[in-house]
């Protein structure tokens, strides 16, 4: 059982000429393996800052991030060990894969870096990973990212995140850059993988509907502050904070039909 504690974390960015910008203000939550938390908020609410702090691409200005009760080392083998246990799937699969390298390279690197399997089994492991994300190894392994579709690329990115056999996965808007028609497929894949390996997932999104579909718990972030948290259904069906209500009302509800006049205006 892995537990990641995010305790009283604040993050300040220095903005040239404008003093400090408080991106995160005293945010706390706990993520354990097997659990899915959705982090919902609009652009600029601090979602990605949380992801960057969790992957240690940025450091918190104050507060602590604890993995199994221990703070994350800032460098050295300890940091590598942490990064092996907590992995991230980036938002944009068109940008997160190096256009120059093959899919094989992308999946081999984490395997070799973290010495997940002995050297002579790397090839087999790469193929196994591709199969886990429902890609045909023979058709994809020697391709480059630009030869794959967006959905296929995001599957590769997910496979890369899983390569080091992490215990926790941070998914930073993993489907927001994909076609609506394949979003569900990728989300279901994530859900399956989570069940298979008892992953803890922090699902960062701006989409309340997928958050409800995918997660047990929802946290709503607004201007760097968690304004509401609770079980997924209760947050959606009975939002307490007005920002959550505004977010919910902002997404189209399939049960509610437009009035005839409104629909025609919308189409024109």
């Amino acid at each position: 059982m892995t537990t990641l504690e995010f305790t009283n974390v604040s993050k300040r960015y220095k903005v040239r000429g404008a003093g400090d910008m408080l991106a995160l203000d005293d945010v706390s939550f706990t993520l354990t393996s097997g659990q899915t938390i959705a982090l919902v908020g609009q652009s600029g609410s601090g979602k990605s800052t949380i992801a960057k702090i969790l992957t240690q691409l940025e450091r918190a200005s104050s507060g602590e991030v604890l993995l199994d009760g221990e703070p994350i080392p800032h460098r050295g083998p300890g940091l590598r060990r942490y990064r092996q246990r907590v992995r991230m799937v980036f938002q944009d699969p068109f940008a997160s894969l190096n256009p120059y390298h093959t899919i094989r390279h992308h999946l081999e690197r984490p395997l070799r870096l973290d010495k997940v399997v002995p050297k002579d089994q790397v090839e087999d492991e790469v193929r196994a990973l591709l199969e886990r994300v429902r890609l045909d190894p023979d058709a994809t392994i020697d391709r480059r990212p630009h030869e794959l579709s967006g959905g296929q690329r995001q599957r590769v990115a997910i496979a890369r995140a899983l390569a080091s056999r992490p215990e926790l996965l941070i998914a930073d808007e993993p489907v927001s850059m994909l076609d609506v028609s394949i979003r569900l497929g990728v989300l279901n894949l994530l859900a399956d993988l989570q069940r298979e390996s008892d992953l803890g997932v922090l699902y960062i999104t701006h989409d309340l509907a997928t958050a409800r579909h995918f997660s047990d718990e929802i946290m709503v972030l607004h201007h760097g502050v968690v304004v509401e948290r609770g079980a997924a259904d209760s947050v959606i069906l009975d939002p307490q904070h007005e920002y959550t209500r505004a977010l919910r009302d902002a997404s189209p509800d399939p049960d509610k039909h437009f009035a005839a006049g409104a629909a025609s205006t919308a189409r024109s």
Binding site: T55, A95, S96, L97, P99, Y100, T102, L113, I141
Partner: protein, 335 residues
């Protein structure tokens, strides 16, 4: 030898059959050279290749020693014995041009290699770091950008009785690396924040690996273009220096030929003396520029598609020169 059991796809080669994924690796190497795979670059490379062959096999190609004097044939026009005539000392111009290729190419490429090395080092470091390290490297680049090249070389060269080629190349490189470093810095800064670099960092890749394996391959086109650009500048710089007499005559290159021609009143009557060397400089410059245009088109697909569009329109018999889109004039009522 039962051919029936072998999979149909991997037909003849048993080695290939055992490793079906191998052949697909070929494009991986090919991709590094994709920028040269267009008409302009290929033409440029072909011309450059001819010059390289001439430089390497100069003793086989040149009919005479370049400094061999034949006092029975002074300032003679092209003939069967001397294809490009002779100088005022009876030296064979053709042999001089052939041997001169060596000096030009050696200095050009040496300067290009040194300058590109420095440009990559400084440019990528300045782009990857941020803060005062990046700013000071950038300031250094700017200083070298405004150092006037020729006067500096004249000063350095005048300190030596017989400046070695490596010194000339080194000084040409020192004055030539800054432009490449600037472009590389800008491109590296944009690469640094791309997600795939962040992903490599989050995976725990080491800094040198992120730079060498993840970033540099995405910079190859710019590095190549910066290299070709510096070689062009170095070739022109060298011939200029030789022409104005800063580099002593012992270093035979096209510029030296022009220097002697000018010193001995070859202009304009003894055209065979100076035209070949001048043409060679122009031709080599054109070849290098063509290679760079090709790389440009590869890096900036908008240029490529503009060219293709122009060709397609010409095929249809439409003129591209008219910058204004023709509008069919209707009944004459202006809106």
């Amino acid at each position: 030898m039962s051919l029936t059991t072998a999979p149909a796809a991997s037909s003849t080669d048993d080695a290939l059959a055992s490793e079906p994924q191998r052949p697909r690796r070929v494009p991986a190497i090919g991709k590094s050279f994709a920028m040269f795979r267009n008409g302009k670059s290929l033409t440029g490379l072909a011309i450059l290749g001819v010059f390289v062959v001439i430089a390497v096999f100069a003793p086989l190609i040149a009919p005479y020693d370049p400094l061999e004097k034949d006092f029975t044939a002074l300032r003679q026009g092209p003939s069967a014995a001397h294809w490009l005539g002779t100088t005022h000392m009876g030296e064979d111009v053709f042999s001089q041009v052939v041997y001169g290729t060596r000096g030009v190419l050696v200095v050009g490429f040496l300067a290009g290699i040194i300058a590109t090395f420095v440009a990559v080092l400084v440019g990528v470091a300045a782009g990857y770091w941020s803060g005062w390290k990046s700013e000071s490297l950038s300031a250094l680049t700017n200083v070298f950008l405004v150092i006037p090249g020729l006067p500096l070389i004249i000063i350095v060269a005048s300190q030596y009785e017989d400046p070695p080629l490596i010194l000339v190349a080194g000084v040409l490189a020192i004055t030539g690396w800054a432009w490449g470093a600037r472009v590389l810095r800008a491109q590296t800064m944009s690469l640094r924040n791309r997600d795939f670099v962040q992903a490599a960092k989050a995976n725990g890749e080491k800094l040198w690996r992120i730079i060498a394996v993840e970033m540099l391959p995405n910079l190859t086109a710019i590095i190549a273009s910066s290299f070709v650009g510096t070689v062009t500048a170095a070739v022109l710089g060298l011939t200029t220096l030789a022409f104005i007499g800063v580099i002593p005559i012992t270093n035979l290159n096209w510029g030296t030929i022009l220097f002697w021609a000018q010193q001995n009143g070859a202009f304009p009557d003894y055209w065979w003396w100076y035209v070949p060397a001048g043409l060679c400089i122009a031709l080599l410059g054109m070849a290098l520029s063509l290679i760079n245009f090709g790389i440009d088109e590869y890096v900036n697909p908008r240029l490529r598609s503009a060219g293709e569009r122009a060709r397609a329109m010409r095929k249809k018999g439409l003129a591209m020169d008219g910058g204004v889109t023709e509008v069919r004039v209707g009944q004459g009522s202006a809106p």
